[in-house]
């Protein structure tokens, strides 16, 4: 399994007059957990929206699983989208459905599994994210922040994707919940042989999860390497981001992870 899951080449994005990305290159091999790091407004979420095909860059190519993202017939493009799962920053659970229906929704759309099998799969996904079957009846509005993230993760995992994209998975969680959620993602990564891309501002999350760190600065990926080697990098953004007051915390977390 050495094939690359994501290949970005020369991606350029422009919002009106503002150039966001100019020549972003990134190759993510299968099985990696890559943290995408960058300052606010550096276009991390925009890049993720490119990868999942919600927006198209002005120039450059995006390949997922070795195929061009926008190639082929509608059915092929839709099949490609079912091979990745996305955890949006605020969960994006369907507010009119309860948790169980939210998780069952992508399964039902496929029209393959019977209702009984879907119920079993929903139970399985709930137990994967460490939620109780009784939680299936709750509405998204009744969930706490951590539960929303778990339920959204369960929905993202519903079709057993090969690639998981997480936008700020631990934002808005207290350190305790955040640590539990990180552990959960790590366990799932091991069990399901996932490739994970995560966007984060949280150094603890990054240190605990990422096998590689991609730094988005100056409108392109300036570094894509292990955390240790990233820390040694002499780039103003890296210096500010990693070597501020929080340096000690990261280093100690790195020692444990």
């Amino acid at each position: 399994m050495s094939a690359s899951v994501i290949e970005l080449q020369g991606v350029r994005t422009r919002f009106r007059d503002q150039l966001i990305h100019d020549g972003v290159d990134l190759v993510v091999p299968a099985g990696e957990i890559v943290a995408l790091v960058g300052g606010s407004g550096s276009g991390k979420t925009t890049l993720m929206r490119h990868i999942i095909g919600l927006t198209r860059p002005e120039a450059g190519s995006i390949r997922l699983f070795g195929e061009a993202l926008h190639a082929g017939q509608l059915a092929e493009r839709m099949a490609r989208r079912r091979r990745f799962g996305v955890l949006f920053q605020h969960g994006a659970l369907f507010s009119a459905f309860n948790v169980g229906e939210n998780i069952a929704f992508p399964l039902r759309e496929q029209g393959v599994a019977s209702e009984e099998e879907i119920a079993a799969l929903v139970r399985l996904k709930l137990s994967m994210v460490e939620m109780e079957p009784t939680h299936a009846a709750l509405m998204p509005a009744e969930l706490s922040g951590g539960m929303v993230k778990r339920a959204a993760l369960a929905r993202a995992l519903a079709l057993e994707p090969e690639l998981l994209l997480l936008d700020e998975p631990t934002a808005g969680l207290d350190p305790d919940r955040s640590a539990a959620f990180i552990e959960l993602i790590r366990t799932l990564h091991r069990q399901l042989h996932l490739t994970v891309i995560l966007i984060t501002h949280d150094l603890d999350t990054l240190a605990a999860l990422a096998s590689r760190v991609a730094i988005l600065a100056d409108k392109r990926i300036v570094s894509h390497d292990t955390l240790e080697r990233t820390l040694a990098l002499d780039h103003p953004f890296v210096q500010r981001f990693f070597h501020g007051q929080r340096r000690r915390a990261v280093m100690s977390a790195d020692g444990e992870g």
């Binding site: 507010s95 029209g111 393959v112 599994a113 079993a120 139970r123 399985l124 079957p133 299936a136």
Partner: protein, 371 residues
């Protein structure tokens, strides 16, 4: 580049079942019927060969586990990683997901009770809103400088001025149609002249206010409900309250005042245009000169009717704004509730306006009518 994995396949060789390829939800979907049929043929003595499976997901594992009758068969060969996946599928908690109870007689009684209690709840909340509005008015009388003049003015522009074109078009056409149909009947009795009485009384007293109410409820009432609803969902209303700003004073009161001011003006405008339409139609159909129409109108329609029409406009405006705010403030944070509340707001506003109109008709039955 990842080579394409062959689709899921199953092959029976005597008492032996050979499973191969991609046993994941996406791939199994291509021929799920055939695979289910073959799996169903298996018996306890079947020998299972899963060695050629390339990919297995939870759905595939559940499918296989159920084909095995939920226990490990005597003769099975498979890869270690796939064994773990099937083991995981086997540990799915048995307690079923909470189910909604089927609809029966008991559920019907409960639903009826819920509806009744819900209605009482709505009525209480509505009265509380009215009371709060009253208290706000007293507060503003004491502190006139806090009056939200800018909001009221913006509201009058939004619900009044911007509604003028559509109100004029609807009013004119209704006037034309009403006048044409009435004059056809009146002509047969030779009572042409009474078209002015009919149009004057009907439009100024009844049709104008009700027509405008329906328009405004659909146009502005729904917008108010949706706006307050989204503000509730995004916690903007809580933010206002946290700043010590009264939500009723800053959000409800300006809307009510704006509608109470704009509605009579809209009623006046729409009635005038509807009468113009009626006059044009009467001129064409009956040959009544517009100048004669204008001259006769004040003689046959007492001025009290105009006052009633304007008063109705103000009261209907109050009701529409209150109903819209009432439903807007009760929106739950989900999309379903927002759409249901907006619908309920428009339907309730129109219903309440018509009820109020009936009450008006009874209360003013001796006023402004020439016997």
């Amino acid at each position: 580049m990842a080579p394409r994995i062959a689709a899921a396949s199953i092959r029976a060789a005597g008492a032996r079942l050979e499973l191969a390829g991609d046993w994941s939800l996406n791939s199994l979907g291509q021929d799920i019927g055939g695979i289910r049929r073959t799996l169903a043929q298996a018996s306890a003595s079947t020998e299972w060969d899963l060695g050629a499976i390339v990919r297995l997901d939870s759905f595939g594992a559940i499918l296989i586990w159920r084909a095995w009758g939920e226990r490990w068969p005597a003769k099975v060969s498979l890869q270690q990683q796939h064994r773990r996946i099937i083991e995981r599928a086997a540990t799915i908690p048995a307690d079923a997901l909470p189910r909604t109870a089927p609809f029966g007689p008991r559920a019907a009684v409960v639903a009826l009770g819920d509806a009744l209690l819900g209605f009482v709840d709505h009525a209480l909340h509505f009265i509380a809103l009215l009371g709060q509005l009253f208290l706000d008015c007293i507060h503003l009388l004491r502190n006139p400088r806090q009056f939200p003049l800018a909001e009221v003015s913006a509201g009058v522009y939004k619900v009044g001025v911007k509604a003028m074109p559509v109100a004029a078009m609807v009013g004119f056409l209704i006037g034309v149609v009403l006048s044409y149909l009435s004059s056809l009947q009146l002509k047969t009795f030779g009572a042409d002249i009474f078209i002015i009485n009919i149009l004057g009384l009907g439009i100024i007293r009844e049709l104008g206010p009700v027509l405008v109410s329906v328009l405004v409820a659909g146009r502005s009432g729904s917008a108010m409900t949706a706006q307050l609803g989204v503000m509730r969902v995004t916690e903007e209303i809580d933010a206002l309250a946290a700043m010590g700003v009264s939500r009723s004073q800053r959000l409800v009161l300006p809307k009510v005042f704006a509608l109470m001011l704009a509605m009579p003006l809209l009623v006046l405008w729409t009635s005038a245009v509807a009468l113009l339409g009626g006059a044009v139609s009467a001129w064409v159909e009956l040959g009544l000169a517009p100048s004669f129409f204008l001259e006769t109108l004040p003689r046959v329609v007492p001025i009290a009717n105009l006052y009633i029409g304007l008063l109705k406009g103000a009261v209907f405006g109050l009701l529409i704004a209150l109903v819209a705010c009432h439903f807007g403030l009760r929106v739950q944070p989900n999309t379903e509730s927002l759409s249901a509340s907006t619908t309920a707001s428009v339907v309730s506003a129109i219903t309440i306006v018509i009820l109020a109109d009936a009450a008006f008709a009874i209360a003013t039955r001796t006023v402004g009518v020439v016997a």
